[in-house]
Amino acid sequence: MFGSRSIACQDARPDLVAWVDGELQSRSARRVGAHVRDCASCSREVQALRSSIDLQRSFLRSGSDSVAAVDVDALWRRLEPRLQLTPPESRWRKAVAAWMWRPALAFAAASLALWVGVSALGGSETVLISLGLESPPPALRQEPDLFREYAIIRQLDILEHLDNGESPVPDAATPAAQQG
């Protein structure tokens, strides 16, 4: 029969609890049912599960019954004054609260990207110059086309002097270099 082809124990076992609870889709239920009919071991397992589930239901429902002493009137009298002090949560305010973190996250991401960019370019100075936030050195002011290669040339210059164990050439843009 379609959908009731026999399955192996290892495939049936994970579904046995749901099968006993009547929570399997019809096709799976037919397959598991057919297996349980044919397999003595799984059939015993189902018996044991049924017994355990009955015990659980019995215990849990008896637990519900034993709260008969709940004084609902008294509970309501305690709750009612608190309701007066509880304003309803409006939909738009909840939505705003839910979205508030997004601009903050975007700002943090942008700051991080800027910091990574600055680090990758070897320092803040060239980035600040490229952003127009700092004046370029006098030499670059005279030859603005040189600026494109300025950051790379400066990095190569620093690396070359490090390899030679020398101090890098003083930066023309620094106040000390300008004074010298």
């Binding site: 049924r50 015990l55 659980q56 429902r61 709260v67 509970l75 709750l79 509880t86």
Partner: protein, 192 residues
Amino acid sequence: MTPTDDPDVQLMLAAQRDERGAFEALFRKYAKQLVGFARQFVGSQARAEELVQEVFLQVFRTRRNYVARARFSTWLYRIATNVCLSEVRRGEYHGRMVPLDPPADSGDPPSQTADPESRTAEDLLLSREAVDKITSVLGALPAQQRAALLLARMEGFSYEEVAESLNCSLSAVKSLIHRATLTLRERLQDVR
């Protein structure tokens, strides 16, 4: 049955329109069973009653956001489960056996049989010792497994409703209930 056929959904929609009587009716209908549910998480009935008040305060506060998508009880238990799980996560109850208060009417609690054909009510009458043992094993289950088991076995929710209440997938619920059931079966072998 559509959600709007559920009379409790109608009451909740009325509560949404600030009809206080409707809210009170929902409280009176569910307070007792929610205390029973919460008690399985916190042990003490007094604390469970406080949690139930917290649940209804949240229902009242968020009533404008309510959308009738399923049975009202599914939505209510979603709030109740969140409140109980938050309480458990505070750590006071973690890894600790939480014995339930003895029932108010004293003596062994009454029992009901879920499957009348397989057992009689007398068969399922549980001794105090058995109740303590089951409470202990249930209290040691991971909170999510316990919540899924309680919703399914205590409140009679379908797996789909449990998934809605726990805000997780159907397959996750199947797995939670499967593991919880096997743990209980294994540790309660000596309990009749």
